[in-house]
């Protein structure tokens, strides 16, 4: 047998071996390229269950399998420190209670809660110098964000959520926090406008301490999350429309040093009402499971 022939046989043998090893190593992910977490049948089942309970699905979602992990967060104090620095520089009255600290300056009243919630009330109103009723939503958002940035109240990774108009004529702009392009729904910012003025700003912002990749797991499908939600809520008296379902992170507020947040499916209904379904367990996220404070 000559050397060339021997090489050819070895090449064929090793090619076969490599194909076998590659298949063993990657086959779950080969399948995942075409795999979907929500099949047409799953979707039909979910829609049927929603319809039985008087809910209509009017949202699209990613049907591929997704995985996620927990993130550890703590209350963010940077915005508060910057704000307080400016307030104290300008002269401020301070008053403390068990769970809040009040700062009063000429034009603002600031309340900082021990949980990390920051409330800024503009005593004579934060003038926007524009007639709000004439503005398009996009323009209004831009003006408000400029105002916040000027006052040092605009966090970096922020995403606009929705407008809320109330009967008294006030408009609230809702924002949530982003972390590496993933929403952190617990981090929220609200701006309340009335009569061309910013009346109040409420910020609950979180500082991500770490992600926990060893606990990365596949999340439940959006169809499963919707079915769980409807099982939990029960039939609705009036028809409700599900407007959106998004994957992000969420947990209730804790007056704690730091805590882990699970991934959730946020389900948005037609009246801007939100529900958060734990994307690992499928449970509706509630605060009441925590035992009373010792």
């Amino acid at each position: 047998m000559n050397l060339g022939r021997a090489k050819l046989i070895l090449i064929i043998a090793f090619t076969g071996l490599n194909i076998f090893l590659g298949y063993q190593l990657f086959w779950p992910d080969f399948g995942r390229l075409t795999e979907v977490a929500v099949t047409a049948e799953d979707l039909r089942e979910a829609e049927q269950k929603l319809a039985e309970n008087n809910y209509v699905l009017d949202a699209t979602f990613d049907r591929s399998p997704q995985s996620s992990d927990f993130i550890t967060v703590s209350p963010d104090w940077k915005i508060k420190q910057d704000l307080l620095y400016r307030l104290i520089k300008g002269g401020v009255q301070i008053e403390e209670t068990e769970h809040q600290t009040y700062y009063r300056s000429e034009d603002k009243r600031v309340v900082i809660h021990t949980s990390g919630l920051l409330q800024v009330f503009y005593t004579s109103g934060g003038e926007l110098e524009e007639e709000l009723s004439t503005l398009e939503p996009g323009e209004l958002k831009g003006i408000v964000e400029d105002f916040l940035a000027e006052d040092g109240l605009l966090p970096e990774e922020i995403r606009f959520d929705f407008f809320e108009e109330k009967r008294d004529g006030s408009i609230t702009l809702h924002y949530y926090q982003m972390l590496e392009d993933v929403p952190v729904f617990s981090g929220q910012l609200k701006v309340i406008l009335r009569a061309n003025q910013v009346q109040a700003v409420e910020i609950y912002w979180l500082e991500p301490a770490e992600r926990i990749p060893p606990r990365e797991m596949e999340v439940i499908s959006p169809a499963e999350a919707l079915k769980n939600l409807v099982s939990e809520l029960g039939p609705s008296a009036d028809e409700r429309v599900i407007k959106a379902i998004n994957l992000g992170y969420y947990s209730g507020e804790y007056d704690a040093e730091k805590w882990e947040i699970p991934p959730v499916w946020r389900v948005m209904l037609d009246n801007n009402q939100y529900y958060y379904v734990n994307a690992f367990t499928g449970n509706l996220e509630k605060d009441s499971v925590i035992p009373e404070q010792l």
């Binding site: 090489k7 090793f14 190593l25 990365e216 797991m217 596949e218 805590w259």
Partner: protein
Amino acid sequence: MVEQFKSLLLLILIGLSLFLTYQLWYGQKPAEVVADDVYEQVDVEAPRKLEDAVVPERIVIPGDEGAHLFKKDDSDFEKIWVELSALLKSIENDFSADTQNAPPEEAEMCLNALFDLRLPIGSEMPWLSGLSEGSLDKLELYCLEDDQWLVISNTDRGRQYFKPEQGKLNQVTGVLEDITADDEPDYEYLDPEIVLEELELDVVITAPILVPRDEKSMNRLSLKAENIDQELLLKTFFVDYNLARVIEERDGGRLYTDGEKGLRLTDIGFEFSHPRVEEGQTSLTYSEALRSSSNLISYHGGWPENLRLEDVGLKSREGNLFYEAEWMMYYNGYPLITRQPTRISFNDLGLFRFTRFIFTTAKVPEATADEHILNADQGQIQVAAWSEALSRALDVLAERTAAPQFRHNLEAMELSYVVTGTQTSPKGTPAWVVIINGEEIILRADDLEVINEEDLL
């Protein structure tokens, strides 16, 4: 040229096969494999048998003047209960409600065992298995010369009597004689006349209360919170504890929750809550509830030696029926009272509330162990007399209640330990615990200073 290409290709293929083999052997597992691996076998303590779980609250041997009192975790208590328990196991269906079998009037009570936690009897029970299913809350032994009579208070059928053959109770009476032979009775039943004589006060005594006749001393205790394997505990509460997230509280506590149930761990114990299960019902019988209580505490943290089951009762909240079981630690026959009880609530769906705060005596170096117990300067205190304690408790009651108390119902009065101090240095402080008109008053046993509930750990 072709040969060179073949050689190069062969080398690449060999290298690739080695790399793939390495990846296959040591490479990372996909996410869903990680998720599947969390269901682990959990090795926990075996539950206690019923005969080890249910014991009398106290055993009293009446004497000519006063009585001998034996309480849980007292060595003599254990000796008597072992014999009594064996006796009850050996009796089939020989009890009768017929008063013909009752002891004659001249017979004297020679033992009285009270069961706050009712003793289950009947088929499939260790005790009195020949009787129909039920429970008893009192057991009395009457003696007249060489004859004895057993009288039980069956919670369903009232008093029942049994006259055993002569000699059947020799084991029990033998132990009683051994224990009481050299000692004078050290306790006496409190009655309104004695109180009137000592304090010149009219007090209604609503339950049998035994108080020390003579001077008594107790040790101040150095305690420590029980050491629980937290990882094991998490595995027992969360089937897949990878799904539980952690909240680190400012006071150092750690809270675990999976969105459905919550477990808060502190330096001295834990609290668990599962609200969804709370909405269930229960169909368990009393004896099944006793077994479930034993299973649950053994599974979630274990059942330490000196921890005694105090109560198992059917409760109702918002139309939901459930069982509540409570335990207490004992030291030398005295209970260790904590602010938060060790208590579970459960129904047919499972456990939905659990608070566990257990303290044990800190280890004293062997060389000084005896000194620690005996040397008054190091830890022993003289207990104030019951009359002083009762008088002080009545004063405290008057201070606490705005309206004048015209009638004083004395519901309980006993010596105990209350757990005080700090989380890092808990102490067992001897105390008089007095309940008058439903108000619990805790007084330091030596100087009768009031210990408020918020001072307890």
